[in-house]
Symmetry: C2
Subunit: 138 residues, 2 copies
């Protein structure tokens, strides 16, 4: 939270009421992956006149600052969640039956990444999704 504010400051990013509302929505919904429209409706509770364009603009900006993480699971729309630490995000398991998305903490990709770096790549980030069935659906 302090980290976020200083990061915004560093990028001369004005913390308007609208942006505050959006950030609060994201902070209050850690663990879920919200679409722009879902963010809009939640933010409207805090700032009724907020428009969808502002939501898109803010989400995009926050994602570029790595304050949010942007990803897509099903349904051709991007979803956003608060990014815990800088880069190197957690992984996701997508249930092919109920659509539930679970978080996976462990990393375990270092081995692959260092192999790639030996081949001359510079790896900045990764995105890993598992598809299968959650315990309830299996």
């Amino acid at each position: 939270m302090d980290v976020i504010h200083s990061k915004l400051d560093r990028n001369n990013y004005r913390l308007t009421d609208q942006r505050k509302a959006i950030l609060d929505v994201m902070l209050e919904n850690q663990g879920s992956h919200l679409s722009a429209e879902e963010v809009l409706w939640e933010a409207k509770k805090k700032f009724p006149n907020i428009g969808i364009a502002t939501v898109y603009r803010t989400l995009e900006k926050l994602a570029n600052l790595d304050i949010l993480h942007k990803s897509m699971f099903e349904g051709n729309k991007f979803r956003y969640e608060l990014a815990e630490d800088d880069k190197h995000h957690h992984h996701h398991v997508v249930c092919l039956n109920c659509g539930q998305i679970s978080e996976v903490s462990g990393d375990l990709l270092h081995e692959l990444e260092s192999k790639l770096e030996q081949q001359g790549y510079k790896i900045i980030d990764h995105e890993l999704k598992f598809y299968g069935y959650c315990p309830a659906c299996k």
Copy 2:
């Protein structure tokens, strides 16, 4: 190729000239990741009257049969490539500078997957993308 045909048969999937054209395009472009529109233009060389709707329908169907693999890298459009073996695909490295996409063969996710299966999940597939810089851009 034989595998593909028998898979199509098994699903009573008529191999029309249009579908043959699309399949040929995919077979001739292994290693690259084509968008629906790119497939359309290539397929038009083989069957000039083919329409975009047929391309979308066919790509979708082939992806459902795991003959093609559908993924998105940059640019909000899906891309398709021939799926080598059944499920469990190779990984991708996306260069943040030039956009080049390289293939990564090794798997290395078994450890994570078995950990998840111990927790009650049934893992069918995974999708792993690395973001960073390719040797040329680094």
